[in-house]
Amino acid sequence: MRLINHIPGKPLAVLLAALPFIALFAAYSIGSDIRLDANPQDKLLPAPSTIAETAQRLFTEPDRRSKEILLWNDTFASLARLLGGVGISALLSLLIGLAIGLLPYARSAMSSFIAVVSMVPPLALLPILFIVFGLGETSKVVLIVIGITPFMTRDLAQRVLEIPQEQIVKAQTLGASSAVIALRVALPQVLPRLISNVRLSLGSAWLFLIAAEAVASNVGLGYRIFLVRRYLAMDVILTYVIWITFLAFLIDWLLKTLSRKAFPWMEAGL
């Protein structure tokens, strides 16, 4: 039988899905063992048990100096920045995307500009951002906004343009003004797309957040990772990496669920 027609049974499928995770874990454990054998104090690949202890400590024990649990502080600070940046980007991209998609004047004026802007490497502009927006929260949020808005806007504008012209004409024959068409025809139809854009952009948003926090900050997940890099505390770094991965996963899942719940008409077909 052809390979494409071989379908694993349910238990085998579960096993297969677990396999790469197990393999990764095993590879890490062995690598860690080898290094720790050579130097019991090696910090680069701490034993899984060490990571587990560190993780437990990070999640539960308050810092000696500040009496606060740093991991939670970092998480809240980073999430606030991330959600702020992504939220503003979503809003901006929605507004500009609708304008570009619906209004020929806006399209002429902005579409090539945004195409060019989306190619600019935002990290290189950090110094200017600092001067303009200061070193505080603003510049971190702005870096995220500058980093992901152009892409989201281009895509949304494209989606608005893909709304069948028939619908736009139909709305006009029902007396809809431009504003009503934007609000009641285009907006609801691109909202699901906005959510999937946010999901797509979250990876970059995290990157920009981590980069911004590495530059100037005193709290945040990215800040902590770069700080403890100073003494190669890989147990802390790995805990944070796993935690960030989990948060990213969680946010992605929430958005997916939101999209499914909020837009029943998307799936009503078939």
């Binding site: 910090k43 005193n218 505390a233």
Partner: protein, 331 residues
């Protein structure tokens, strides 16, 4: 796990006192000395200082340019037995606490200070605050700021004070009239040492490595002491400034052009005291690792055989053997 071998790799990053490492590689001086001892030494430049030490600690390099403080915290704290092969200089004004506008250290109270956290800047700040009996908690906050962006950061309104090193210090003081140096490393001479540290076992198994590196280094030191324009210009350009700028930075650096001076520094009676206070600083900040039971959990050995810290866990050694050979012309 060290053994006899013929190929060695050193890592270095851009800093006024370490620029010679780059020049050693480019000019062929290193190759010449390596050849003399039948080995091969490669010197690799890093842009990111911390990463270079991490790489050394992880075993990717046999030696790295680092300060005494970072050596103690990263490789030694990480269990890698490390020897200071060459004491190149100590910072004598290269690191500075700078505030915008007039005032003294006490005026830092309630202000945010931007610096590379857990670096020598942080240590310098702690020492500065000590002098007026203040603590870090008296400040508004310490904000970790990448050295690459320190100059841009200084230009923003949010920033009221920074602690950083050269060439950033001269850049900031040079182009900002309001930059007020409150405290600098000249106030704590000999505490911030710029070293070339190597893996102790590697060095023990391969004395030729130590000899070649020391030989090359002090050949160049002699050239620099003599004011060799070609060498100094090349180093100046590699560090992104011009000859005059580089000379100005050197002025704030107590270079040990003479190996005997380096030996003297390494054997100085003050060194154990300095290292103990550094260790305390590190422990205080949690930099020795959360597992570190106390400030003296890492042992430090000095040329005369004395130790500070845990003598059963000596991971950081000041060794004057090779500098002494250079001083004696025995290389």
């Amino acid at each position: 796990a060290a053994e006899e071998k013929t190929e060695f790799k050193l890592a270095w990053s851009i800093y006024v006192g370490w620029m010679p490492w780059g020049y050693l590689e480019d000019s062929g001086i290193m190759d010449k000395w390596a050849e003399k001892y039948g080995i091969d030494v490669e010197i690799v430049q890093f842009n990111d200082y911390v990463e270079s030490i991490n790489q050394y600690t992880a075993g990717a390099f046999d030696g790295v340019s680092a300060t005494n403080m970072d050596t103690l915290s990263i490789p030694s704290g990480g269990g890698v037995d490390t020897t200071a092969l060459i004491v190149g200089d100590y910072s004598n004004g290269n690191d500075a606490v700078i505030m915008k506008g007039a005032g003294g250290i006490a005026d830092l109270k309630g202000k945010p200070v931007n610096l590379v956290e857990l670096s020598v800047s942080h240590y310098l700040l702690a020492r500065a605050l000590d002098t007026v009996g203040m603590e870090e908690s008296d400040l508004d906050a310490v904000i970790n700021t990448s050295d690459a962006d320190m100059i841009a950061a200084y230009a923003t309104n949010d920033v009221e004070a920074v602690v950083t090193w050269n060439p950033l210090v001269s850049e900031i003081t040079g182009s900002n009239a309001d930059a007020n140096v409150l405290f600098d490393s000249a106030d704590i001479p000999g505490e911030i040492l710029d070293l070339m540290v190597v893996n102790t076992e590697t060095l023990a198994d391969n004395p030729a490595f130590g000899k070649a590196v020391a030989g090359a280094w002090y050949e160049l030191m002699a050239l620099m002491a003599a004011g060799d324009e070609a060498a100094l210009t090349a180093m100046a350009e590699a560090s992104g400034t011009d000859l005059a700028g580089y000379k100005a930075q050197l002025a704030a650096t107590e270079m040990f052009f003479d190996p005997a001076a380096a030996v003297a520094q390494a054997s100085s009676a003050d060194l154990p005291t300095t290292m103990t206070s550094v260790a305390e600083f590190l422990f205080d900040k949690g930099i020795l690792g959360e597992g570190a039971p106390s400030a003296d959990f890492v042992g430090i050995a000095y040329p005369d055989g004395s130790t500070t810290g845990d003598s059963g866990n000596v991971k950081f050694r000041f060794d004057t053997t090779y500098m002494q050979m250079a001083a004696d012309g025995a290389l």
